[in-house]
């Protein structure tokens, strides 16, 4: 077992790759009663075209299959539902689907072993019939309607549409009523057999555990499976330019909401963490709580709270997102672009840079408060091929000069987009 450590925050992670290809990561936490386990497969809404390793057959699936599959995994041949079984034990169980992975999880204080039995049983036993697939279409249809009413989801989807012409990140995670109507048990089994192979999965556990014992417990519950070759995923070619600069839609909101983005084209694997840290420092310097620009917007009543930031990246896409609520999003855009221009010309202020770096350190450490946050973070990072402690360990290597380089190479005006949702005009 490989052990990685972060001395600053006094945490360790035990990592083991089992012979069948499954990666298990255990982060022991003393002084906590809560236990959290999450089992993820590297299969998300963007994986809509691939070659099955066993048959070499190329498969092109309807939008929303990964999410549909997630819903259906809980159903058992004997008519029970694993979610209910876990809840009956007082275990808080759930599952979710993102752009690049699907995860099954539970959190508990007691009955961890029974929970582990159930989790490892249902994830390894798919059961799809014509009947149960049809029934699910009604439930997921309701979920899709709920998303359609959600202005922030629409805002994000429109931002993706500005950023990319043809990138699978534009696919709605749940699909559409039309796309899910084409889903059959056969499609689900094909996806299950390809992506739910241990070599395409990662399990993360966090809580008060002895790692050696826990690994044995996990091994005991794994079903034997033939080895499988690499899954070839087919994506459209990368686009150098943005699709369009802006998109505005009207929905039932009282004040416009906006999402401003910068498309990142280079996506160098080696420096991902360092770059990510630099971007977070820069975003805080540009429009964070203590920035001059935020103070100005706040005073003018253009921003009520500091905007949210995010840097989303995978092998297929990478972009910076800044989102918030403002009665005049165009003015926010102007202000941000002007500030970036000035920062590029004058360079970053040393004192400001240092202060924000301290803040970012605090932000990373706070993530280690809850077993759930830790486990989800390790899984999401593992799917991207990132080692989570690197954020704490590498933060000192991000210098002002490096951040200035990143500012010049990524925060480019020609790669900037703006998505707005404004109130319905009567």
């Amino acid at each position: 077992m490989k052990i990685v450590e972060s001395s600053k925050i006094k945490e360790k992670a035990y990592i083991e790759e089992l012979p069948n290809g499954l990666t298990v990561i255990i982060i022991p936490k003393k002084n906590t009663k809560k236990k959290y386990i999450i089992w993820g497969t590297h299969f998300g809404s963007i994986d809509n075209r691939f070659i099955m390793p066993k048959t070499n057959e190329e498969v092109f699936i309807p939008d929303g299959v990964a999410h549909f599959l997630e819903h259906k995994m809980f159903e058992q041949p004997n008519g029970t539902n694993s979610l209910d079984t876990l809840m009956a034990l007082g275990i808080d169980a759930n599952a979710y689907t993102t752009n690049d992975h699907t995860a099954y999880l539970f959190e508990c204080t007691n009955h961890f072993e029974e929970g582990l039995n159930e989790l490892m049983d249902y994830v390894q036993h798919p059961y799809f019939t014509d009947e149960n697939v049809e029934k699910e279409k009604g439930i997921i249809g309701q979920e899709i309607n709920m998303y359609d009413d959600d202005p922030s989801w629409k805002l994000y989807m429109n931002a993706m549409n500005c950023m990319y012409k043809e990138n699978p990140i534009k696919i709605d995670t749940a699909g559409t009523i039309e796309s899910i109507s084409k889903i059959t048990p056969d499609v689900l089994y094909k996806c299950y057999n390809t992506f739910y192979h241990p070599s395409n999965m990662t399990m993360v556990v966090c809580g008060d555990f002895e790692p050696e014992n826990l690994i044995e417990e996990i091994k005991k519950r794994l079903l034997p499976k033939e080895n499988q070759g690499e899954i070839k995923r087919i994506y459209p070619p990368k686009e150098e330019k943005i699709n369009k600069q802006s998109e505005t839609a009207q929905m039932e909101v009282s004040i416009p909401i906006f999402m401003l983005g910068f498309k990142d084209i280079e996506n160098n694997n080696e420096e991902r963490v360092k770059k990510h840290i630099a971007i977070e420092i820069l975003l805080n310097m540009i429009i964070g709580k203590s920035s001059k620009l935020y103070a100005k917007f706040y005073q003018e009543g253009l921003l009520l709270t500091e905007p949210g930031f995010d840097y989303e990246f995978s092998n297929e896409y990478a972009h910076i997102l800044i989102s918030g609520t403002s009665k005049d999003p165009k003015k926010i855009e102007q202000g941000i672009l002007e500030t970036i221009k000035q920062m590029k010309e004058k360079g970053l202020e040393q004192e400001h840079f240092e202060r924000i770096r301290r803040k970012i350190y605090g932000d990373y450490v706070v993530e280690y408060n809850s077993v759930g946050d830790i486990a989800r973070m390790f899984l999401a990072d593992a799917i991207k091929g990132v080692q989570t402690f690197d954020y704490i360990e590498q933060f000192e290597t991000v210098t002002k000069e490096y951040a200035e380089e990143i500012l010049k190479s990524i925060f480019k005006e020609e790669n900037e987009i703006l998505s707005i949702i404004e109130p319905i005009k009567n």
Partner: protein, 424 residues
């Protein structure tokens, strides 16, 4: 027990929670005052103005810079309704001293900054700074107008408003635009001066704090020393104080541009027996607490009528709210199914297994209380306001003792008060 409380002054209580499971220390100060139509807007505006600046750190930029230097300490504030009280909440979270890249003293600095923001606000010419008040009035106006944005939350708030019409709990926590517009910086400051000498003040500290002398830091703080002794005006709410009258359900329908309908039912529990809250918790969990609940199983799973179907128990008002997201044309069908579940509860149509499952669900929530700092603080503060102290262990035991007979008896006192439906 890792929790202790002591009086610093009359109506000023210090609560300490010693715990070593976190990387952070959390400090919270709560001001409690009765919910009144004429004050709710003032309370909400005041909370927002206080965070703008102190006599020591006169701008928000300076406050933020100070917090960033403290490794990104985070400050947050807001207003909440708890029973018939309006609570102004102020939080500061910092890293625990042992997780800093180099040794520094953060505990005392944290407490002093938090108290500075609340008790030493920037005052110019006997009033709050007009620019801050005007700015926050505009912001608050936007927040009040944004009430409609989140349809789930909106329909829930609307149901509460209808159910407690002309009563304190029916008030909107952010207040009302017609009241907001009239407030001046002088009036707000006058309101503040009176409030701070009459409200109930509770200070919470949670984290690895046993080596810091918190009591001494707080007692010696000059802003605390300036506070007068007071007889606090606040309202005690618990199951014994909430008597109800039976009445015909009120039906309210509203239209907006939505594709999914939101159905919210407000239920009265007409039982004022001491400790009936434990029975009500189990009742609520069986009815709509989780994936095994009657609502989830019957409204969502068996009939595919809804994507969400659950219920929540508001102890301070002895009420339960059922919330469903449904297809608009399924309104009657969903409502009938919900009513059937309420009848089932009255008739004892649930099994020992249902009771057991529900208890497990509640017990795991109870065990989770001291796994999150703000949850633990909220738990103890709830006890403080209800004037009922039950330790976390006792709470779990009381839940285990609840019997089917008690649940059925309680179920018989449950009536639908309000049916609210948001449609297209």
């Amino acid at each position: 027990m890792n929790y202790q409380k002591e009086q610093i002054k009359n109506a000023l209580t210090l609560h300490q929670i010693n715990t070593n499971g976190y990387k952070t220390n959390l400090y919270a100060v709560f001001l409690a005052t009765p919910l009144k139509k004429e004050n709710v807007t003032l309370d909400a505006l005041l909370t927002a103005v206080l965070r703008r600046g102190t006599n020591n750190l006169p701008t928000q930029e300076q406050i933020s810079q100070k917090l960033e230097m403290m490794y990104g300490a985070s400050f947050d504030c807001g207003v909440e309704k708890t029973g018939d009280n309006h609570i102004m909440k102020f939080y500061l979270e910092t890293l625990g001293e042992e997780f800093l890249p180099q040794p520094e003293k953060l505990v005392e600095e944290s407490i002093n900054i938090l108290l500075d923001i609340i008790l030493n606000p920037l005052v110019e010419n006997g009033a709050f700074k007009p620019e801050y008040v005007e700015g926050e009035k505009k912001n608050l106006k936007q927040i009040i107008e944004a009430k409609i944005d989140n349809k789930n939350k909106y329909s829930y708030d609307r149901c509460i408003e209808e159910m407690f019409k002309n009563k304190p709990y029916g008030l909107y926590k952010y207040g009302y635009i017609e009241d907001l517009e009239k407030i001046t910086p002088e009036e707000l400051y006058k309101y503040y001066q009176n409030l701070i000498q009459t409200c109930k003040i509770d200070i919470f500290c949670s984290g690895i704090i046993n080596n810091s002398n918190i009591k001494e830091i707080v007692s010696k703080n000059e802003n605390i020393q300036k506070l007068q002794e007071r007889k606090p005006e606040y309202i005690v709410n618990n199951e014994t104080t909430e008597a109800k009258e039976k009445q015909e359900p009120k039906v309210v329908e509203e239209s907006m541009q939505v594709t999914q309908g939101k159905l919210v039912l407000g239920l009265d529990i007409n039982s004022t027996e001491e400790n009936s809250r434990f029975i009500a918790s189990v009742y609520n969990a069986i009815l709509g607490g989780g994936a095994n609940s009657k609502l989830f199983q019957n409204v969502r799973e068996k009939q595919s009528l809804a994507y969400t179907a659950n219920s929540g128990y508001i102890r301070a008002k002895n009420s339960i709210f059922i919330r469903c997201g449904i297809e608009i044309q399924n309104y009657q069908k969903a409502l009938n199914t919900i009513k059937d579940q309420l009848e089932d509860m009255k008739n004892g149509n649930f099994t020992e297994e249902d009771i057991q499952n529900s208890k497990e669900l509640i017990l795991s929530t109870i065990e989770g209380i001291n796994e999150e700092q703000d949850t633990e603080i909220t738990y103890y503060y709830g006890q403080e306001l209800a004037d009922r102290f039950v330790s976390i262990e006792e709470y779990a035991n009381k839940i285990k003792e609840v019997t089917k007979e008690q649940i059925v008896n309680l179920a018989k006192t449950v009536n639908i008060n309000t049916i609210y439906f948001l449609k297209d």
